[in-house]
């Protein structure tokens, strides 16, 4: 049979593979595999059954820390807002006896308020309160107030007799409450010369517009019932 010849560089290539590093590279991937003990699986199985599952404690810790942080921030914010609401005011208000009226140099300002004070004091007299009479310093000038005339029937008292007089019981004497407010400002004062008085009614500015009638009867008013003869 005919013989075939290999390439001439074949021997050189074979000698190249005989190199230690090339043999090492070939054989390190084919090293013999060793076998462990036969009962190792049972040991692994028992250890897996006994070990508890890994709990991500760090997740629970992170959640707890975030909740604590939120509570802390809300608590601090609440305390700060609460302190702002309860912050002491600069001006203090003391309710006591009314001092004497102070006459100042600014008479035009007083004149404007005198009109209102006149109406207030007239109303005070009608209601028999214990407000002291004002001094002459407030009575300067006042403008007449024109009111519309109402057509009302004339009252005929000839044939009327007193049927019943209802006198309400007198209430227990109560110490009259002072209706004078004195404001003492320790800090900012807009106008020291401003005179503030509140005599008598709770809203003296609107007293001129009120009309006293049956709807405004106080419980202390004396009622007289009349009948015709």
């Amino acid at each position: 049979m005919k013989e075939y010849s290999p390439k001439s560089d074949l021997w050189r290539k074979i000698q190249q593979q005989k190199n230690f590093d090339s043999q090492l590279k070939t054989h390190t991937t084919n090293l013999p595999e060793r076998v462990p003990n036969k009962d190792i699986w049972s040991a692994i199985e028992s250890e897996l059954d006994h070990t508890t599952p890994v709990i991500p404690i760090w997740k629970y810790g992170l959640a707890a820390a975030s909740i604590v942080l939120v509570l802390l921030i809300s608590g601090v914010a609440y305390l700060q807002f609460a302190e702002k609401d309860s912050a002491p005011k600069l001006t203090t208000e003391v309710i006591g006896e009314s001092p004497d009226a102070i006459v100042t140099e600014q008479t035009p300002q007083i004149q404007k308020e005198a009109v209102e004070e006149e109406a207030v004091h007239s109303e005070v007299k009608r209601r028999t309160t214990n407000v002291p009479t004002q001094k002459d310093a407030f009575k300067t000038t006042h403008l007449p107030i024109l009111t519309p005339m109402l057509d009302l029937p004339d009252l005929n008292f000839e044939n009327l007799q007193v049927a019943e007089i209802i006198i309400p019981p007198l209430p227990e004497p109560i110490a009259p409450a002072t209706l004078h407010n004195v404001q003492i400002s320790w800090g900012l004062q807009e106008d020291k010369n401003k005179l503030r008085t509140t005599f008598g009614a709770s809203d003296p500015e609107n007293i001129t517009n009120q009309q006293i009638g049956r709807a405004d009867q106080t419980p202390r008013s004396i009622k007289i019932k009349l009948k015709r003869q």
Partner: protein, 176 residues
């Protein structure tokens, strides 16, 4: 061990703590991992203990595996780390300043894997560890030095020392 046998179905069942699937994975990979343990530790009992701990950790943490295709390398990494930690107290890197091994540049012998395996077992612990990590497992010197707690230069010099010793040992084994 065929990689094709490690299909996605087996892996999903292992993640679900299917005991039969776990056993199947153990049977497919036990030889590979035990060989690594034995070569690093050079002791059968210690290698079995490390193998057991490695499989327990593998089955506990397999859910955290982000790339299922890297399962084998991931398992190898866990096993190698445990073996090195177990042997860390015994591993001693000889100072190469006073050692002048006979140079065998003209190594002229054919050897097989069995002879190589026997020669690897006769290496010192430190040089053997460096040789196994870099040449057998393919770790770069940077990673191998981090695992062993040495510098890169020490890793390179220890590898050169290991190869020189292997040549000498293989020549003696072939002559015997």
């Amino acid at each position: 061990m065929s990689v094709q046998k490690l299909d996605a179905d087996l892996l999903s069942r292992v993640i679900k703590n299917d005991r039969s699937a776990q056993f199947r994975l153990f049977e497919l990979t036990k030889g590979m991992l035990y060989s690594i343990c034995f070569r690093v530790l050079n002791d059968e009992d210690e290698a079995n203990d490390v193998l057991q701990d490695s499989y327990v950790e593998i089955f506990q943490k397999i859910r955290t595996l982000s790339h299922p295709e890297a399962l084998l390398s991931w398992m190898k990494t866990i096993t190698i780390r445990k073996a090195i930690n177990q042997n860390k107290k015994r591993i001693h890197f000889e100072s190469l300043d006073n050692i002048h091994p006979e140079t065998t540049d003209d190594f002229d012998a054919w050897f097989d894997a069995e002879v190589l395996d026997q020669a690897i077992q006769s290496l010192p612990d430190g040089a053997r560890a460096v040789f196994l990590l870099t040449t057998v497992e393919g770790y770069p010197h940077k990673d191998a030095s981090e695992l062993l707690g040495i510098s890169e230069s020490t890793s390179k010099s220890q590898l050169h020392y290991a190869k020189t010793l292997l040549k000498k040992r293989i020549t003696k084994l072939l002559q015997a």
